[in-house]
């Protein structure tokens, strides 16, 4: 007989023990979050969740700590030290743990959940065809009957005219697909995120199947994006009337199945079906402004792809550059230790390389005679400054010269130039406007001034600026035609601007 069959399974201990109610509440929370693709939970989160319930009024954080320890011991939870980067020694030391529920627990909780509801199956893959199938079924369920004999406003949904049996089949298929999709995706992504896989990604084996894995994920993403938009649009556009009629008909069919043992209430079935429908809506569209599960999944997949790329890159680098460097370093350490300091410096230069160069500072070379002896060359003479703190190089006192005449002249010249410029600009201004497209050949100086103005104005939000003389103007782009501005030094092609003076 197989050994395994004879061993106890500690993971299910929590289901039947003294504090089962506590353990079950905790693990159910983990399982729910796992389904929502949140795999690592902090104790605080669990605590604040439990405290919502009356039964947990006297529950303390210490008790939770103990319960978590117990669940870890049974193999239901996997603790993981938070590895995020911290910014202080204190934080690093306060060992923060997050917990992930073990695959066993997920299975057990799922089973328990299914026992509660009687469901099925566990696979774990990202079946991209599921999306297409889902879309197709959803399409069939929600198409309108386009019979040419009806006016447009009278057109009915096809479910109205379909046999009851068919409506039911479509409905069941649809939710079958949906359930498969969510469960498989959640499991698969959880698998990728588990510590074991992360360890695997750090080994060289990972490189071998990285390509296939990435392609798989990429295809999944592509399918997700392609079909999800259309699914979302269908979900947004079907009206309440359709839903009412459809669930009514599905319920009718289910009522029609003869059952001996129990009496079923039609209202109950309808409520259940509507809840089913809502969960589908929420999954794709989100609820009350919360992100949809779809978005979660998209982010998770993206993140996984990113992570794999990063791992692969690092592995590649390590593979090329870092063949057993550790051994090398330790070999070097021993080598250094047996050397004198002089020899150690030399070894350092050989293994690490030289950090700086050394050279002499001197006047340019003086001789072309290659047989000249350095001793016979005139030396470069350098002046050494005294090294006392108060030393200053002596400066000669000199009289202050009167330069006001020269300054005055400069000022005159400058003003004259400004005046000339002003006149030039004035010549090309008509009705307080300068139309660049209508300008004759202008002086290069004028073009420079205009361009300066344009630069100034285009930097402003409202397109206005001031000229050197303080006139306010606005820069306006007339159309997207290109114009030519001719000048003695060439032609400039530029957008069709107008400069308008505002005052």
């Amino acid at each position: 007989m197989d050994e395994q069959l004879l061993k106890p399974i500690p993971e299910i201990t929590y289901l039947n023990t003294e504090n089962t109610w506590r353990y079950r509440a905790i693990l159910r929370f983990f399982y729910r979050q796992h389904e929502r693709l949140r795999h690592y939970l902090f104790p605080e989160e669990v605590y604040s969740y439990l405290k919502q319930f009356g039964a947990f009024q006297s529950y303390t954080e210490d008790m939770l700590e103990q319960d978590l320890q117990r669940l870890v011991a049974w193999g239901n939870l996997i603790p993981r030290q938070e590895t995020g980067r911290v910014s202080s020694i204190e934080e690093f030391k306060r060992k923060k743990f997050r917990y992930q529920c073990s695959p066993y627990t997920v299975e057990i909780e799922r089973m328990v959940h299914q026992l509660e509801q009687l469901g099925e199956s566990f696979g774990g893959s990202l079946e991209r065809t599921l999306f297409d199938r889902l879309l197709q079924l959803l399409g069939e369920l929600t198409t309108r009957d386009t019979s040419p004999f009806r006016a447009e406003n009278e057109q009915l949904y096809r479910v109205e005219t379909m046999p009851l049996e068919e409506v039911n089949l479509l409905w069941e298929d649809l939710f079958d697909q949906f359930r498969k999709l969510t469960e498989n995706a959640a499991d698969y992504l959880a698998y990728l995120k588990s510590e074991k896989i992360e360890d695997l990604m750090q080994t060289e084996d990972f490189l071998l199947y990285k390509e296939a894995l990435m392609a798989y994920l990429r295809n999944f993403m592509a399918a997700l994006q392609k079909s999800s938009l259309r699914i979302e649009s269908i979900l947004l556009h079907v009206d309440d009337q359709w839903l009412e009629r459809t669930v009514e008909r599905v319920a009718d069919y289910q009522m029609s199945i003869p059952r001996l043992d129990e009496k079923i209430d039609k209202e109950e079935i309808i409520t259940r079906l509507k809840a089913q429908w809502n969960s589908l809506r929420y999954w794709f569209l989100g609820v009350n402004g919360n992100d949809s599960e779809l978005l979660y999944m998209q982010n998770e997949t993206n993140e996984t792809i990113r992570k794999m790329t990063r791992f692969a890159q690092r592995l590649g680098e390590r593979y090329q550059n870092m063949r057993s460097r550790r051994k090398d370093y330790l070999h070097l350490a021993g080598w250094f230790l047996n050397l004198s300091m002089e020899e150690a410096h030399k070894l350092s230069a050989c293994v690490f390389g030289v950090f700086h160069t050394r050279h002499l500072y001197t006047d340019p070379g003086r001789t072309e005679d290659i047989d000249a002896d350095l001793w016979h060359e005139p030396p470069a003479v350098l002046t050494i400054k005294p090294r006392t703190r108060h030393y200053r190089e002596r400066t000669k006192p000199s009289a202050i010269e009167d330069r006001s005449a020269a300054k005055q002249q400069m000022l005159q010249q400058h003003l004259l130039m400004r005046e000339a410029e002003r006149k030039l600009i004035e010549q090309i201004t008509r009705n307080d406007r300068i139309r660049l497209s209508e300008l004759p050949a202008v002086d290069p100086y004028v073009r420079k001034t205009l361009l300066q103005w344009m630069t100034r104005a285009s930097g402003q939000e409202d397109g206005t600026a001031k000229t050197e003389s303080g006139r306010k103007f606005k820069l306006i782009l007339l159309d997207d035609e290109m114009i030519e501005l001719a000048s003695s030094d060439g032609i400039m092609r530029m957008p069709n601007y107008l400069i308008m003076f505002l005052e």
Partner: protein
């Protein structure tokens, strides 16, 4: 000609940075990094052809592996004062090797780990040992082999219980140059230096001689004639015009060749370089000594031993 192939002023400047720095980190010095990257081709070509050096331009840094032709004591890590510093430094590298990039670690963890990695006895209650580690960590931080997140390594000098939080940056992976074989297979300097020569050309002529001569010129203050039939010196004399032209085109040094001495000198003082004379008092004193000595030699009071090649002749 594309800008990549152009060896212009910008390339000269970039070359100088590569020679004067262990590496240029993109994060710290994006402008210089870009400058090097833009001239990568020209620089790679020049350094490979003339010095036999590999220019590595990586996503995160640019680095020229400056292996000397003849290792000198001043070429080591000047911050280190004891062989223990070097040994500890290698153990630190081995420790970092086990960490993943961005991983954080505490000084206390490192200390514990070093005890087992270090090939000899380590005792952190020993002041000298702690000081050694302070030097090593300071040097490692200055090159960005580790990043200090919190705490101050200086405190470790006074108390072995003081704590520092470090992080492993991506650069630490690239500090050490690569060897064709695993490093632990080498046991002498000669083997190490020999390792990079993959071609089997004659040591006395050809490419290897050119690389050797250029390395000496570029890294050290001066190259002295060792004997009458010094092949390297013969090379310098034969090709002096080509070498001068080449050096002046690719760097801001001038090439000087005398009967027994060759050197690359500078007319202007770059702050970043190790130049003699510098601003330290020892330079002033040695200059005064040199002047006196020179006067004595020229007046015949002191002889230079016939100016033979056996006698090194610095000014």
């Amino acid at each position: 000609m594309s800008s990549q192939n152009l060896y212009d002023e910008q390339a000269k400047e970039a070359a100088e940075w590569l020679l004067e720095n262990f590496w240029v980190l993109r994060e710290d010095d994006p402008d210089r990094y870009r400058m090097i990257r833009e001239r990568e081709q020209a620089l790679t070509l020049y350094f490979r052809e003339k010095l036999g050096y590999r220019l590595i331009v990586h996503r995160y840094f640019a680095k020229l592996e400056k292996i000397p032709a003849v290792p000198e004591t001043w070429m080591g890590i000047q911050e280190f004062t004891d062989p223990r510093d070097y040994a500890l430094f290698c153990c630190l590298l081995a420790f970092i090797e086990m960490k993943s990039v961005d991983e954080q670690f505490l000084l206390s963890d490192l200390c514990e780990e070093l005890k087992s990695l270090y090939p000899d006895e380590l005792d952190w209650t020993h002041y000298e040992h702690r000081k050694s580690l302070v030097r090593v960590m300071r040097f490692a931080a200055s090159l960005k082999l580790v990043l200090t997140v919190d705490g101050d390594i200086e405190q470790f000098r006074y108390a072995e219980t003081s704590e520092v939080l470090y992080e492993v940056p991506i650069y630490s992976r690239y500090f050490m140059r690569t060897y064709p074989k695993d490093l632990f297979q080498y046991s002498t300097l000669e083997e190490l230096l020999e390792a990079e020569h993959t071609d089997d050309s004659d040591e006395q002529t050809g490419m290897r001689r050119r690389h050797r001569v250029y390395r000496q010129l570029f890294l050290t203050p001066a190259m002295l004639r060792k004997s009458d039939d010094d092949v390297d010196f013969l090379y310098l004399r034969t090709y002096r015009n080509r070498i001068r032209e080449d050096i002046e085109k690719h760097t801001n040094y001038q090439f000087e060749l005398y009967r027994n001495t060759a050197m690359l000198t500078r007319m202007e003082r770059g702050l970043r370089q190790d130049m003699y004379p510098d601003q330290r008092a020892i330079s002033d004193i040695s200059l005064q000594f040199a002047e006196q000595l020179r006067a004595d030699v020229l007046s015949g009071r002191v002889t230079t031993g016939g100016a033979g090649p056996d006698h090194p002749q610095y000014v």
